[in-house]
Amino acid sequence: MSVKPVVLLVGADKGGVGKTTITRTLLDYLATRGVPVRAFDTEYPRGTLKRFHPDITEIVDITTAADQIKILDTLTTSEVKVSVVDVRAGALLDTLKTFTDVGFFDLVREGEFNFILFHVIGPSVASLEEIAEVMPYTRSDHYFVMKNFINETSFFDWQPEIQKGYFKLVKDAEELTIPKLNEMAYEQAELAGIPFSTFVANKNAQGQNANYSLVLRGYVRTWLAQITAEYDRIRLVDRLAGKNVSA
């Protein structure tokens, strides 16, 4: 049984909500679960994701036809079935429109490809408006809201009635909670420029023993474990393999 190629978009219509951090945890998770994945870093030209996962990441300019082709045309030819696209902040809607224009979503509807959207949002009501704009492109079984608690801000600003209004088009939208990571821990991992799990294992990019803080590694370990539990909970690996995951 051959697995359908799947595109997983990680996007946010606002900067600063921790989108690339989430993509990094996703790549880490898939590596741990033995799922081959290739990643596209759309923060052209310098990239923000490639630094951490250089072997599997390619920097692309998603606004150019050439790079759109690079992503989509290789879906059927690549041996790697899972393609993660870390969409540049503010470019989510445009990217979804582009994918529509080139017929990608037609092919999804026809069953050629699978599609998953991780919509990273911040705690403000503006995020709810983003969700409403993204709604037309999504179905409930492939749309996931990632609530990233980067500043420990409460997401309770959302009045239940308002929230229900935005979500009425997508029944039972799955929400994932990305807890806050201590800033010092985040910074040290960031500076190290390696995948999170490599940092936790106290190794550097070359696989040699490093000298990172025991305490900060502990914070990242706990944080990563909580996120892993969330990815396990939504049965992400099964979804990427195209298996039917009933609620």
Binding site: N182, S213, L214, V215, L216, G218, R221
Partner: protein, 255 residues
Amino acid sequence: MADLSYAIIVASLHGRTGKTLLARVIAEYFMLSGEMPYIFDTDPVDHRLLTLFPHTTRVVDLPQVPHQMTLFDTLAKASRESRIVDLTHRSFGQFFDLMRQTDFIAEARARGVEPVILYIPDRRRDSFEAGVALGQRFPDSAFVVVENAFLGEPRDSVRSGDAYRALKAHDLRLLVPTLAPDITEALDEPSLSLSEFMRRPLSHGDAERLPEYLRRARAELRTWLLAIFQGVHRITLAVDGDLAPVADPRYSSAG
């Protein structure tokens, strides 16, 4: 064993159980053996150990992440000096959560640092329950139940509980005998070095000049310290014993 050191954590669920005094006596034990242990005083307000051992004590305020780093990163480091943590009851939960979170036990042992938890239950039921939970939470760390005789035995209702019995039956123990209150008070004198006190025998001339009750006090203090020092020594032997490699049969004493 070369380069093997201890990370000794003196802890209790509640305050006023004799942690600081015990931590001090253990520090003096190592000093008497010629070592200079590194001491962590986790009470930033009433940092008595800093006052007693200003040159070898570090005060850490556990709610602060950089202090957590100083503490745990140092505790797990390979070093000939042993480390002693006087864990204020206010930071009891946070400290052991961090210990779990950082996988401290495994990392420390991988570097030749043996963690030893010295837990002091008091008279309350929850202190026994917390002790049992702590020992179970860290099965790879040496765990010692401290009996501070000063605290006395708890009520019958506590003594009939499972947690009390479990701690009572625990094999690794340290008894802190009672000490007369006026002598305990004398220990508050910061300039009194207990290891010096133990090293210097009472000269005949000194003994003659001291009034009876002071002579008795000196003797009682020495007896008390000796009892605890011997207890600590037995614990280190037990901890080391657990680590001793299995004897190589090729080198048996036969012939």
